[in-house]
């Protein structure tokens, strides 16, 4: 008996990739999963940071999907390589700083490299024609296949019958008649197929899994690039954009203000990288100062720190200011009234 053909499925943790993998497994193909970590993934991070979210189940949905399917899942760190996609997307951005088409091309290209290195035959995605406005359109799907280098080794089992036959179909590794012809934004066909397979529980269908699709997050990333004068970031930068209130009272510095205990604890790990402020006379947030600040700026930062502390209604609040060299001093300040905080300071 010949060895079964082998495919790798891009597993996001959502319903579509779960179903796509299962449809191919039904045809006797050996399937393993691959999941890419860009640093912008919503998965897990905010749950891990924020105390109020700590009671929620901390499930990695991609791993959960792999367990449901009984397949291996390879999680690949692409943080460094992914920067070129975010900073300079050939096909541009979507509604926010989401480079969805370039992202899809990049990930399928990485999957293509992976199957070549590991002796697999083809790639599976859960894409559906018309499901997403940028990367899952009839006219962009061939672009993804071509520019990723995957060509006819890229199979979209949920909408394959709406597309030209791929290599696995031509070679008889997959029966085209047992693939699907879903299209459009309706989720009903996927939900019906999930019921057919006995999947009663799955992650939010078609839910956003990337912070770059979030308007507020994109505003903060754009601000980071603009104020630094260059479009660069590191992992710490993009992690910190996920936590705290971000206020830019002056062009040359911004404050990241912890909103609760979990965020404060997470931000403590960054104290050596930033000047930071902490109320001493009242409970309150840890505040990181990103940028350069003179004595007037530090006074303003301390008044804002006081404003977001439990001393907001007190006449004076004692705030400790610690430099990057670890030297600390205290300031006695009046909390800045809410009326003196312009809306445009909030990022």
């Amino acid at each position: 008996m010949s060895e079964p053909r082998k495919a790798v499925a891009l597993i996001s943790g959502g319903l579509d990739s779960l179903l796509a993998a299962r449809v191919v497994m039904e045809q006797g193909v050996h399937v393993e999963g691959i999941n890419f970590f860009t640093g912008f993934c919503v998965e897990g991070h905010t749950h891990a940071i924020r105390k109020k979210d700590r009671a929620r189940p901390k499930r990695n949905n991609a791993l959960w999907v792999a367990e449901q399917l009984g397949i291996k899942l390879h999680i690949i760190d692409i943080i460094e390589e992914y920067k070129q996609v975010v900073i300079n997307p050939v096909h541009g951005y979507g509604a926010n700083l989401n480079p969805c088409l370039d992202c899809k091309i990049f990930m399928i290209n990485k999957a293509r490299e992976w199957i070549d290195a590991n002796g697999f035959d083809f790639i599976i995605t859960g894409e559906v024609i018309g499901q997403r406005p940028m990367s899952q359109r009839r006219d962009t799907m061939p672009v993804v296949a071509r520019d990723s280098g995957a060509g006819d080794r890229l199979v979209r089992p949920l909408c394959a019958r709406k597309l030209p036959p791929t290599l696995p179909e031509q070679e008889g590794w997959l029966d085209r008649d047992r693939l699907h012809d879903f299209n459009g934004r309706s989720r009903k066909p996927q939900m019906a197929l999930a019921r057919q397979f006995g999947f009663e529980e799955y992650a939010q269908p078609a839910g956003g899994c990337c912070f770059l699709t979030d308007e507020q997050y994109s505003v903060k990333l754009a601000d980071l690039w603009e104020t630094r004068g260059k479009r660069e970031y590191d992992l710490d930068d993009i992690m910190l954009l996920k936590v705290g209130r971000h206020l830019r009272p002056r062009p040359h510095f911004k404050l990241i203000i912890g909103r609760e205990e979990g965020e404060n604890r997470f931000m403590e790990g960054y104290r050596k990288r930033f000047v930071y402020l902490l109320p001493l006379s009242h409970t309150g947030p840890l505040v990181l100062l990103d940028g350069e600040a003179d004595s007037d700026d530090l006074e303003l930062a301390a008044r804002l720190t006081a404003r977001f502390s439990h001393g907001r209604d007190a006449e004076r609040v004692t705030v400790e200011v610690t430099g990057k060299d670890g030297a600390a001093r205290t300031l006695e300040v009046a909390p800045l009234p809410a009326t003196e905080i312009p809306a445009e300071w909030y990022l």
């Binding site: 970590f37 901390k58 499930r59």
Partner: protein
Amino acid sequence: MSTETVDARHLLCPLPVIRTQDTLARLASGDSVRVLCTDPGAIHDIPAWCRVHGHEVCDIAEQDGEIVITVRVGDT
């Protein structure tokens, strides 16, 4: 049989899983890895990753906010 230590403290998931995965890829069946982490998500994610890859979680210990997960490499 060797034992390696992965320091994944202050990393958020899935990075502790990725560090564990990359270390296990270099080891032989029966070897062990001690993963040090601080993200409570790792308590769920590393065992889940081990289950799908056929590795065994021997122990999970938690003290003062630090978690130590001991994994024995399986035959896969």
